[in-house]
Point group: D2
Chain length 131, copies 4
């Protein structure tokens, strides 16, 4: 069964889905946090980076959960958005625990999505295909 194979045989895919959903969650949380802090933390570019990251992480997880043939392409863009979000968090005037944790999670998601994108581009990444 293609789907059974998907779920059991590809721990890297499962890990990437998890990273994306964890990253979406912390970005939405950090956005609320930064809006509460106000000032430089609520500036448009930073909130945009957080929302970009949250939205593409959710989309990326969706493509992987559906076993979509385009999941690699979405992961590639997701990696980019995660990296920019990490940089935005780290560039804040004051980087508190929340922003540190957010940046760290984004960097982990970047790496996971990059591996997934490379894997898919190499032709080994057809989800559910025989090994």
């Amino acid at each position: 069964m293609a789907q059974g194979a998907l779920r059991e045989a590809d721990p890297e895919l499962q890990a990437c889905i998890d990273e994306c959903l964890i990253c979406e969650r912390i970005c939405l949380e950090t956005m609320s946090h930064c809006l509460e802090l106000g000032g430089g933390h609520a500036e448009a570019a930073h909130i945009r980076a957080l929302l970009d990251c949250a939205e593409i992480c959710a989309t990326s997880a969706g493509f992987m959960l559906r076993g979509s043939p385009l999941h690699g392409a979405v992961c590639a863009v997701c990696a980019e958005a995660c990296e920019r979000c990490a940089e935005s968090c780290e560039s804040m005037p004051e980087v508190d625990q929340q922003m540190e944790a957010c940046a760290e999670t984004c960097r982990r998601c970047t790496e996971s999505c990059r591996r997934m994108a490379a894997h898919a581009a190499s032709g080994l990444g057809a989800i559910g295909s025989p090994a």
Copy 2:
């Protein structure tokens, strides 16, 4: 065909889907606008109201497009979120064209969703059911 019936027979449902998608769009646009303006326009409660409205409008449209039996309940919450968003826009220190248009769209969506929720609660709202 249930779905054919859905699409042809219920102009009110189609109109409500449209209102929700138009409202989602203008709320996301207004959020960007308000973040750019900064100051009171970027305060947490206002951005939250805009994002709440955008997200539940998208969800509401999704439930109606799927012909879900719970669409009435979602529309009821959506109406509430739209109304609060309109109030938040109107309470800004300076209400420019963008915020005026957003408030107006939210009020239209409130009314449309309220009718849809009442319709569903009355038992007449089973999507795709015979008239």
Copy 3:
């Protein structure tokens, strides 16, 4: 700081966010699984129940992560969608491991969302408010 209070002081809210995101994930996964199985598993009402549940779970998590005043109302609808999804999974002609796990997750999310909705309705649920 309101947001700090939110994150540290309300383990029940955090747990409900987690339940919603876990439930969204398994519903999307189960939908793919059921479409692969085909036949009765791919019938419109079942796929609709899974998509309804996934979408409102994501929305519910979003409202809680933003600390929105309407999170209780969204959780109430979410509880309903989760319960219907559990019933739909359990009513399948053959209930395999995936559908069993999905039903169980949905029931846990139902309970968590119901508590959250009751909490919010009791007036104790203003997120970030002093105890």
Copy 4:
């Protein structure tokens, strides 16, 4: 004001946002339609193509509405997903009005997103930047 410039000065961007939201809507509608039809129309690959298209269209619109620097990259993937969805609709055993309309909308969105991606890649696409 950057945002004012965005909204007034770039009709192509506005048109692409509209195409994406229209495409999302018709894909969700067509998915319900195809699930109701059942048989070949409800096969996993087709439903997946429709959901992929709907989800990335929504994301693409979100990136453009936020004026995100990554909107071009998202539009490029969106164009691909729209094209695959159009092909999937056209490959159905029986192509009725709904699927015809869906394929047509997807093709229009493909073109619009491709122009947007090329525009962004050429360095002219920084949203809100001076012409």
